[in-house]
Symmetry: C2
């Protein structure tokens, strides 16, 4: 059942991170000059219960400002059981193991709640409101310390048989490489995770003064923009590694869009120009013709937008 | 609209190959002691029109034997536009370029016709009647001279944005390998296509007498079964290459089954035992727990079964 007029329906999104929990309302967060999200420091609450109580308070506050909230979405940095609203583990959030987060939040807020992985939320945000609007099959990825991904297949978020699909950072580009944390050799994250980029930079850019924060991808991008040939080559290599994997994924999925976000993606044309060249030079013309390679629209707000949008659409589709 | 009683509905399947065109009826072909398919020699018809006419005759003959035929499916070895029923190119079938095969066959037979890639037909056959019955997300592949694949996603054949998905043989396992025909280095087909297996065998099995047909995967399997350590190692290597790619695909798709068919898959436990070990040692427990790695049920009949089943299901779903 679809509701006939959905224009004033709203949902609340929670971006649950290891450092902060950010909470805001959709579609308001998309508007120019929107109220910034409410922010809680994840580590400053001693227990799961205390953090849940603080989230519920923030949700109340948002509901007092915005009417017509029909759902609450929550994106978390880890593996979830989407169907049962269950968090298996959260990366870098101690104490969050095997938590029935959906039930806890539903009890505290009275709203229908949907829990999903943060990379899935990012993919949904980009497909629903962002760079990949109107696409049917989308492979989205975020480049950072870890590399996550999400898939939109035939206009629906695809989660996989046990809600673990889209782990692009764990895919291999070198069957003879050094083993990743789960045993597979040569995984993408081991080539272009932030830490690996810093290490490459440290060994190749010794002619440049190291700045305080060490070799961040941003610093390497600055040096490349200034014309340092080693820094430029480093970006070419990053595009080569990533392009190899995305070409393989294009052969498998034949998507209409790749959407790439996260810190490294800020390097813009340093990354996107060689990446596009690499991919188009590695797939058939039929696959290339329908394929767009797009920078993500959303940055920090992807988790809020995606989790809220998913929850809103799920309730609209099938009201509880 | 679903028809209420579908037990006596039938469809005709055509397995259109470079050497032969095989035609039979579903579900009859699945029965013990079924009439063998009608077989036409592809090359013995001088033109597309003559071959189409011969196919139409064969279809008539089958219809005179079996009633209730509601659809005709045709699986072809090449790239198709599924929506328009259009064949772009057929591998190894000269003269078949840009042919409106669906319209030609509909005109000649009067049946609703559906054209698809043969690897998609194989995936559909295995999901609908074969090894992967009851699964939701399936990655199927056939190992042969070429390596093809097909995807079932959420219980539907997934074709991709331009009907070119599932090209598993074109995916890379080595970003530094030698370039494949479309430019991507280190593609799977370049490691374990039949020709590559023969070449590996020729260089590594020089202590064994070469038999007339050269080093077929079958001969290498025989030597491995006899305990030749080089032949055994060669199968381990094949499992390693294939396992590396399938592990990556498992991280991306989180399927409940891989189905593997084609000549090389006949090596049975020589391939499947180390392959299973490699994959389970390369993915998370959550992904591994729901994943089965299965030999295909169908061999030569996969194309007929899959193309007929697809056509039958499509017409049932949405009668024309």
């Amino acid at each position: 059942m679809k509701m006939s007029d959905t224009s004033d329906l709203r949902a609340i999104g929670i971006d649950f991170g290891a450092t902060t929990v950010k909470i805001a309302a959709l579609p308001d967060i998309l508007e120019e000059g929107a109220t910034p999200p409410l922010v809680l420091e994840t580590a400053s609450y001693g227990s799961v219960e205390h953090l849940i109580a603080a989230i519920a308070e923030a949700v109340d506050e948002i509901q007092s400002r915005h009417k017509n909230m029909i759902a609450l979405g929550c994106g978390v940095p880890g593996l979830v059981d989407f169907e049962r609203g269950f968090v298996h583990t959260l990366t870098n959030v101690p104490g969050w193991q095997d938590i029935a987060l959906r039930d806890l939040l539903e009890r505290e807020t009275g709203l229908p709640v949907f829990i999903d992985n943060d990379a899935n939320c990012m993919a949904y945000a980009e497909w629903r409101y962002g760079a990949a609007r109107g696409c049917r099959n989308v492979v989205a990825l975020t480049l950072g310390t870890g590399i996550g991904g999400g898939l939109i297949i035939e206009g629906k978020l695809y989660r996989g048989s046990s809600f673990a699909a889209g782990e692009i950072g764990q895919m291999s580009i070198d069957y003879e490489g050094s083993p990743g944390p789960f045993g597979l050799p040569g995984i993408l994250e081991g080539f272009i995770g932030n830490r690996q980029i810093s290490e490459m930079a440290a060994s190749r850019l010794q002619h440049q003064p190291v700045c305080d924060g060490g070799w961040s991808p941003r610093r390497v991008a600055e040096l490349a923009a200034e014309g340092d040939p080693e820094a430029l080559q480093l970006w070419l290599d990053i595009a080569g590694y990533l392009g190899s994997l995305l070409s393989s994924i294009a052969w498998l999925i034949n998507p209409d869009a790749f959407v790439i976000g996260g810190g490294v993606a800020n390097a813009a044309e340093l990354l996107f120009d060689p990446l596009e060249k690499k991919i188009r030079g590695s797939v058939s013309t039929v696959i290339s013709a329908d394929l767009r390679i797009l920078p993500a629209r959303f940055g920090n707000e992807a988790g809020i937008v995606g989790s809220a949008a998913q929850a809103m659409d799920a309730v609209e589709e099938e009201p509880r």
